[in-house]
Symmetry: D3
Subunit: 272 residues, 6 copies
């Protein structure tokens, strides 16, 4: 855990998706910095510790989400589906869910949201292209489409209501890279924490989009347009390179999962 400070700076924070992989990792890291941490999910969560509230709430339930936002200063929105799945499931959790969240934020005067978007918003760019967040999206599936919707929704709520969002196009946040593709996309947990904390504390966020990746030697993403956020990763996938290359000495270069940034997502589906 990268940074610790004695006093809470972050006020009252809602963390959605708290039962997921990233949510479980972020929960204790955020708790230390918050006046209050409200955590939410649809799956079972650890019981509330000091300074915590635990609320089960499905994102597609408008009233439940409305209640979640009450009294919050900011939101870290990891909730929803984070893999490629049939459209109907994605629609409810990620599209209706995002709408419910932003409407609740508007009603309760919550002014900043850190939104877990995804690199799959641009997964159909090639692995020999370096892109930045001002370029047109190229989603690689329904999941990526729902995250692009969330980013646009956030843009609208900023332009219309002044609610700030930092959209994190997270690469692959795991204890370590799992394969050669993740040498480019890996985001360590410590860097994830740095990123979320930077987005919560930056004086002005407006509507920002940043790729969530560590300081990897290989990368497809240029975060220059997001330097105002104050995120500077300190970890790198490089120490895992030799092992990952040894484990996958050859790659089928005609496989779309090798060619495109989205990896295996780009060839999932159709779902019937």
């Amino acid at each position: 855990m990268a940074q610790t400070e004695s006093a809470p700076l972050l006020g009252r924070i809602l963390l959605t998706g708290a039962a997921g992989g990233l949510g479980r990792e972020l929960r204790p890291r955020l708790r230390r910095r918050c006046a209050l941490l409200r955590v939410s999910d649809i799956a079972a969560m650890q019981a509330a510790g000091p300074g915590e509230e635990v609320v089960e709430a499905p994102l597609e339930n408008r009233a439940a989400v409305d209640a979640l936002l009450q009294g919050m200063d900011a939101v870290v929105h990891l909730g929803g589906i984070s893999t490629e799945q049939p459209f109907d499931a994605i629609l409810q959790a990620n599209i209706v869910g995002a709408y419910n969240l932003y409407e609740a934020a508007r009603r309760h005067g919550v002014k900043r949201i850190v939104f877990a978007s995804s690199n799959h918003v641009t997964g159909f760019y090639r692995q020999d292209e370096v892109i930045d967040a001002t370029m047109p999206v190229r989603p690689d599936g329904y999941y990526g489409l729902s995250k692009a919707f969330g980013e646009n929704l956030a843009r609208f709520y900023f332009d219309r209501y002044g609610i700030e969002t930092a959209c994190l196009r997270i690469g692959s946040s795991f204890p370590e890279p799992k394969d050669r593709r993740m040498l480019a996309t890996w985001l360590s947990y410590d860097d994830l924490e740095r990123l979320v904390v930077a987005c919560l504390t930056a004086p002005v966020v407006g509507h920002s989009i940043v790729y969530g990746m560590s300081d990897n030697t290989t990368t497809w993403w240029d975060n220059t347009p997001a330097r105002h956020l104050g995120f500077r990763p300190r970890d790198s996938s490089e120490s895992f390179r030799a092992a990952k290359e040894a484990a996958q000495p050859t790659l089928d270069r005609s496989d779309p999962a090798v060619i495109y940034q989205g990896g295996a997502f780009v060839r999932m589906g159709p779902f019937e």
Copy 2:
């Protein structure tokens, strides 16, 4: 009606939204050029003429939409909601509806769609900015968000399944401009026809986005990236200028509807 030819070139075409303003206008213009024109809406439509089929089908009904696409060569998709409305209505007609349409196209091997998107996808740019379709979207409401979703969905179905779409960010298509804003955004019916026909006949469309406007003297949109479509408007709002300026001699320059390209859409809502 701008161009007529003796023989049908366009094969079997589905026109959705055929009962709406643009649908009623396009129906006879397309019928002349098609081997078959299937028209669809949820509202009452004129009875089928020669070379026509008339089918009532709500876009949110997956099976109905699937049946609509059967045997078609291409689609002109005007269906759905075309004004700003509460999210739940937009969600069904425009988001679920677009998904149903593209899935049906995929299943039935339909390879080209002309999709009526909207200038409201970028309605939060200012009226003193000139933009083109490669710039980030700034939707001005749920309607604009749903159209941005449709454009991204089309991008995905092209990257993944090779289905081509021309997204038409239509300005204001009416018999004539209604106010000073429409001096910039007007698209005459003849130019609308030229645009749709160009998109249906161009040898390669890929995933293209074009603003639908006549050759107006004032404009906020640069269609240079879409010149490959072969659309060149021949009408202009200029002959209406004096009358529109006389009717609105003064404008409140602090009104968001005057400042932003989306006009009155940018200050609609919230809906509760």
Copy 3:
């Protein structure tokens, strides 16, 4: 005179530099469209006609300029020095003068200014380059520097006080082109009028920069970023081409005046 209408649309307009070449040309054209036309210069002007006020005022005189702006709705600012001259003269008329004008506009609540800038703001680009108004300035002398200052001043007064300015980087506005260079830079008087009227009537101008040129076949300037102003030239220098080429059949291509867009301005000075 390009456009006439029966009723005044433009309210109360101040025209500075009314005794100069462009001022004398614009005065009767504006008078027809204004509720009141106040004209000003330091040189002798024609007596006031109906609907006119004539005021002598040096731009470097703060009080005089303040009085000029009183009660005005908008300004067409042609005043100041419009040729390359020693710095001290330019400083007073164009730099101090522009400051005086904008301060007076701020104090009197005038909300729109049409500012006669100049192509000499970018005169050190080459004649084989096509530029637009978003590119860095390259002034070709003190005159060009003073106009760049005026444009930046206007930008500041818009960002800080909301005063809108359309900066016209005028090419060469004369009855006809005088030499081969003006085949590219010529702005007919009718097109000048169209441009000024467009800038006065456009609903939103913000801070805009537009090159003032007719629809010439040869051009160095791309006005795409200014299409929102609604200026479309109708004249062209092309009918003068044969005569101008015959009069200057050869050019010395090592002469900076031939190489650079600013023409002879780029080799004036030093002045001692």
Copy 4:
């Protein structure tokens, strides 16, 4: 023939490739404007008329090319191979030939060359892309590669020796478009003449690249960066559209010749 003037303006001009399709067309049009027209080819040419010299010279013959340039003011270089062919032939005529020509120009002080490059320099862009001449080249064969070499050679001789070149990326210059692709690429003979004359008479050309096409409704090329040349086409392929579409009502959209701008060139070869 588009423009005629009584007196020769163009001095002493060398036209290479005079026996080819474009050469035969340009020869009488240039003769009228020149003090002297020297024409050259390796194939039989019409006998010299008044004001003409006819010289047979293979471009790969250094001494012969050197003699060709003697006493010339400018060159219109159409010579060499203009179709896709095996590399060795292209190498001699187009690569060695271009080198011989520029070296001769340097030795004889010739200061301007109009170089017939080709759209095949960028033939591997897609037909749903609009490009301009500042984008990276994507040649579609040895012919396109040789033309890219010629453009770079011209760039070097300008940077190093001040020899100006206008590179014309000619589309398809024929009496009329031959197929649907040429609706986009067609350059009428009159527009070809306008283009060549503009490049010979423009005061400053530097190193310029322009696509040679008429004012076609469908186009893949944006000539904005070349407006300083003063070329404005007056013809259009549009009147041929109906006939060309009727002749090719369907296209195989999986055919690289349909997908890419270079048409059939992109699938020629390999040559063994």
Copy 5:
């Protein structure tokens, strides 16, 4: 003090503004590297040490400035007003003063100037925007306007007379950051020295613009276009972050001083 070398490399250097905060800091650092250091100001300065000359000279005094430049190889121009003040004061010190300096440089053949410009040249960009020096200026006051004038003046003297200038858009150069804004804008004194020395020693400077900031984690400025200068900061504001955030735990996000890069400068004035 970052870099020391035994022998003077920098020849005869004029340092203006030597009595100011940055001048007092740079004076001993430059003295060590120069054959001669002439220092100048209108305020009292420390007596001349070995290798130094001390000259009092107001920048608006043309003759005095002319004498200052005599015999110099290069200038580090920190002189003039460096805070927001009424226009008349800025006009004399910064606009007339800059003109006097460049004219004197031209007359005396001085070929390089390091010009202390300011981040206030672009102060009206937002703090959630990352900009670079090729983007249009947005000055946040008269001070910023005068620095933009100085940059343009430098551009002119390079294009016209070949005098090179490195324009330093200095952020906030103090012993340490004073508030949260300066976490982004801070330039340590050691990095300031590195920057000035790099600009004085780079073989070719032409007309360059570089933002003067340390290697801060949060930044609004991308110095990619200035990497040829060889400036690489080694300090960072990061070690001050916790203290600065603790001192200003909350910010009023509706305050223009929080929203815009220029900070409090953007809401100074009007001055009457």
Copy 6:
């Protein structure tokens, strides 16, 4: 030698130009990583060690080059002329040679080539410009022209036949920088190895262009578009700065070799 691993990862590699400066340096570094290293040159080479084959082959000999490629997995192509020389020599070794190599690769199914291009492809940019590999080339001589040809040839073989190439625009790869210019252009041998290995092991290379330079403080090249290759230099010319500046304390700033990036290459020739 930067990275060592126990097992060969790189398969069967051909290294051309193995007798040259970079070839001799790379040979042992590559041998350690390859299943087989075939080395080739026209000059005498060290005898074959274990895991090596040594083949003399002139690049202009088509059959010899064809034989070289047989059975190879990838090529590191350093062969040919690497200095400015008369055109005829360059033509054979670098233009014909490159064609022979790519044709042989196509015939033998070799799918990746690391091509030693050169900074002289863009040598006519100025030393006060920072460029990247998407900008138009500006070769500084016949050598640079031949490398630009090679890059375009590689682009074609990727677009047409799917053969991937990483084009390395190598700066100055020597044991240490030789002069002040090389403070910007230096590439250490260890960084050269890192670069070549990255290009051989990256999962997807497509057609990439990267400048080969160490992590120098001064640089003219922005490698952002090539970050997907996974090259991150670890060395820097900075430790040589003081010595190089002391050795060349003054530079003639009117010398093209000082002004342009290509250094002395830009004023070589003409060769007769």
